[in-house]
């Protein structure tokens, strides 16, 4: 080619737009059970190939295969299944409440439930997640999920633990290992590294788990986090939830084209995995592997969770404008709940009837929580934290100038 031919700008495109079928071959999947499981003290370089493969345990028939099978008991698996169903039912009901204008805004995690649920089960009490707005499953997976309070936060009512200060879903639960969510993307990824460094400085045993979306990995804070985590061998898990979309932009716009987000980790000197995020068993096994490494001072692990954002970005978004409507149905990694259910049935530990009963039970649980929460009002009916509370917590105490302003407001 003539070296003086005109240069051209490459702007990536998804393989499907509205009215088309997405060609999902870009995902480069591995068969279940095919990917090796390195020793915990593996060298970083030896995880290089794992960044382009895909750790999977469950095959299409619901059989668990290969070295990553965590061999969990059916009892533990049904706890995980309940967490996922709880998350899905919770999301569905809160979406309706948003449409009914009881809630000002909502973000669902449809299709991504396995990631937070299995991850939460793989961590220990005292560990700290630094979640994004789409990791409600980290909370809802728990038996002690603070569902009524969570709904009060969504309703911004007089029992909202955040006093009406934050948008719905921006929870904060220190006691449950759930750091306060910021609306600014990626900022918390590096904070997770700092928290982990603190645990190491103090000689404690706690680890941190940072969360970020595929789109947000473009922010400088993502790259900074990898560098700090590597330099100080911080006891942290660095989770990239690759759900293929960042509002309307496809993961290639974040740099996923011809590469993977897991590969970023190895480039920075961090052991890294690319994992089927819709496979409960794979998520649990990989989370455990990374947590064990962190706890044994073997350093950070980056995990790219491959999944699909099945719903709209938020209640302000309309995905039919930028992607095929049937994408999720055609997404080759399927539905995490259906896959774990099929597995449980295949091993003879579950039945359709039990599943239906669990679904009903959880629905009743969420409905009851919502009823209870609604007793304390909502943004719509004005049962809020009083206006004077706006001036609290800006500083430890209320300085003079804020007292003056509070008086001026007449509260």
């Amino acid at each position: 080619m003539d070296r003086r031919s005109p240069l051209r700008l490459h702007v990536p495109e998804p393989t499907g737009r509205p009215g088309q079928h997405t060609d999902f071959s870009y995902l480069h999947l591995s068969p279940a059970g095919a990917v090796r499981r390195p020793q915990l003290d593996t060298s970083v370089q030896k995880t290089g190939d794992l960044c382009y493969a895909l750790v999977r345990v469950l095959d299409d028939d619901g059989r668990a295969k290969g070295p990553w099978n965590p061999k969990l008991s059916p009892e533990v698996l049904t706890v995980g299944l309940r967490g996922m169903i709880r998350t899905r039912v919770f999301d569905a009901r809160m979406l309706v409440a948003q449409r009914q204008k009881k809630i000002s805004f909502y973000m669902q995690s449809l299709g991504e439930e396995a990631i937070g649920c299995a991850h939460a089960m793989a961590l220990d009490p005292g560990d700290m997640n630094f979640p994004t707005y789409r990791q409600q499953s980290l909370l809802l997976a728990r038996d002690d999920a603070p569902m009524v309070e969570m709904i009060c936060q969504l309703l911004s009512n007089e029992r909202d633990p955040l006093k009406g200060r934050q948008l719905p879903v921006m929870y904060s639960y220190k006691k449950l290992g759930f750091f306060s969510i910021s609306g600014n993307l990626a900022t918390q990824f590096i904070q997770a590294v700092g928290w982990a460094m603190a645990s190491a400085i103090k000689g404690d045993t706690r680890i941190a788990s940072g969360w970020i979306g595929d789109g947000s990995t473009a922010e400088a804070d993502f790259h900074t986090a990898l560098t700090f985590a590597h330099v100080y061998r911080a006891p942290v898990i660095l989770n990239v939830v690759n759900n293929q979309w960042a509002i309307s932009s496809f993961q290639a716009i974040a740099g996923g084209e011809g590469s993977t987000f897991a590969a970023r980790g190895v480039g920075c000197g961090i052991a890294s995995l690319r994992v089927d995020g819709n496979d409960f068993l794979a998520v649990y096994a990989a989370s455990r592997w990374a947590a064990e490494r962190a706890r044994r001072n073997l350093g950070p692990t980056l995990i790219e969770w491959l999944t699909y954002r099945a719903g709209a970005h938020s209640t302000s978004d309309d995905p039919t404008k930028y992607r095929p409507a049937d994408d999720w149905e055609r997404f080759p990694l399927g539905d995490p709940i259906a896959r774990l259910k099929t597995h449980l049935i295949a091993i003879g530990a579950w039945s359709e009837a039990q599943h239906e009963a669990m679904q009903k039970e959880v629905e009743a649980e969420v409905i009851a929580a919502q009823k209870e929460a609604e007793r304390f009002g909502s943004l719509a009916d004005g049962h809020l934290f009083s206006n004077s509370t706006m001036f609290d917590d800006v500083y430890e105490d209320v300085p003079d100038h804020l007292r003056r302003q509070r008086r001026q407001l007449g509260v």
């Binding site: 600014n184 473009a218 922010e219 960042a246 740099g255 809020l384 804020l402």
Partner: protein, 338 residues
């Protein structure tokens, strides 16, 4: 003339400039195929192609950084930051680079970029979709800061900003994208389609930078404001019966000092209004200018009305927002003082 919302007027400005000038490029998060989360760039990629209107990675530092590089090459980038609340990762590129490139290279390189960002509250957006960070920009020498209050000005000013050879921060009060919101959140807003200032020429025209507008002539007291707050000030004037002269600055910095001074000299009283937090807000600069230039004409202390010095709340939004009632009291205070 066509009837346009502010969104349509901004889109029309970019459309006109993409058409007139092959050096104009438009980009930002969700800006290309989808047309922006507020739809300001809808249809532009289909019309001008992917190399002139495109999506970027989620990196505000990256967006402004490449804009500086493109501008140095000779393009006229128009970059969108999805919300003003998210410009902070771009601070270094704006403050240390864009603003000073001309000065530090003694004019060898320039930075003809426009950075658009929706600002302001009133949409229940909470602390990360409501901020008014204009003072952070006006504090930086080398940046121009512009903030329109209606579709006509929005289009004319955006064209001027794109044509200007300095870096321009173009703030768009999102609460008035669809109609002039006067602070009465319990009443419907008249859409721009039925408002005289929604009448916008379809083709090329400019509203000059550094020129304020007398938004409402009056004789009792001068209100200096910009963006959404000029509408709130107008409501307050009408409701109190105080004949306020409202100056819409349009360009915050550099600004039209003469327009302010002339008005204050005439009325002898001055109220300064913005939605942003109070302390070290842009109102403090405006107040200093008025006191420096009009001290001997003032008949009363200058009054400031602003947002409180707290993060923008989600649920208590209307207690935070300086609405017509708070402005009305300020007008009365300015009138009562000797």
């Amino acid at each position: 003339m066509a009837q346009m919302t502010m969104i349509q007027a901004l889109r029309s400005a970019m459309d006109v400039m993409l058409d007139r000038n092959p050096e104009v490029v438009v980009f930002g998060e969700d800006v290309g195929y989808f047309g922006g989360v507020f739809r300001c760039t809808e249809g532009l990629q289909a019309k001008y192609g992917k190399t002139r209107v495109f999506d970027t990675p989620i990196s505000e530092g990256g967006i402004v950084g490449v804009a500086v590089g493109m501008g140095a090459y000779g393009l006229r980038p128009v970059a969108e930051i999805q919300f003003a609340d998210y410009f902070y990762p771009a601070s270094d590129q704006l403050v240390s680079e864009a603003a000073r490139l001309r000065h530090r290279s003694a004019g060898d390189f320039t930075c003809p970029i426009t950075v658009r960002m929706p600002c302001g509250g009133g949409i229940y957006g909470g602390q990360t979709h409501s901020q008014s960070p204009e003072a952070l920009f006006t504090h930086v020498c080398g940046l121009r800061t512009v903030l329109p209050s209606n579709p006509y000005d929005a289009k004319g000013l955006l064209i001027s900003a794109i044509e200007n050879d300095d870096p321009v921060i173009f703030l768009e009060p999102k609460r008035i994208y669809n109609g002039p919101f006067d602070g009465h959140h319990d009443k419907p807003v008249v859409p721009w389609s039925r408002h005289p200032l929604g009448e916008v020429p379809e083709g090329y025209f400019t509203v000059p930078l550094e020129s304020a507008k007398i938004f409402r002539p009056g004789k009792d007291v001068t209100v200096i404001s910009y963006g959404t707050m000029v509408w709130v000030a107008e409501a307050a004037a009408n409701e109190t019966g105080i004949d306020a002269e409202i100056i819409d600055l349009r360009s915050l910095w550099p600004l039209d000092l003469d327009a302010m001074v002339e008005s204050v000299k005439k009325t002898g009283r001055c109220v300064i209004v913005h939605e942003a937090t109070r302390t070290s807000g842009f109102g403090a600069e405006l107040l200093s200018l008025v006191q420096e230039h009009c001290f001997y004409d003032l008949e009363a202390p200058i009054v400031r009305v602003t947002g409180w010095d707290t993060p923008y709340p989600h649920a208590q939004e209307w207690a935070y927002f300086p609405g017509p009632e708070r402005l009305g009291e300020a007008l009365k205070r300015a009138m009562e003082a000797c």
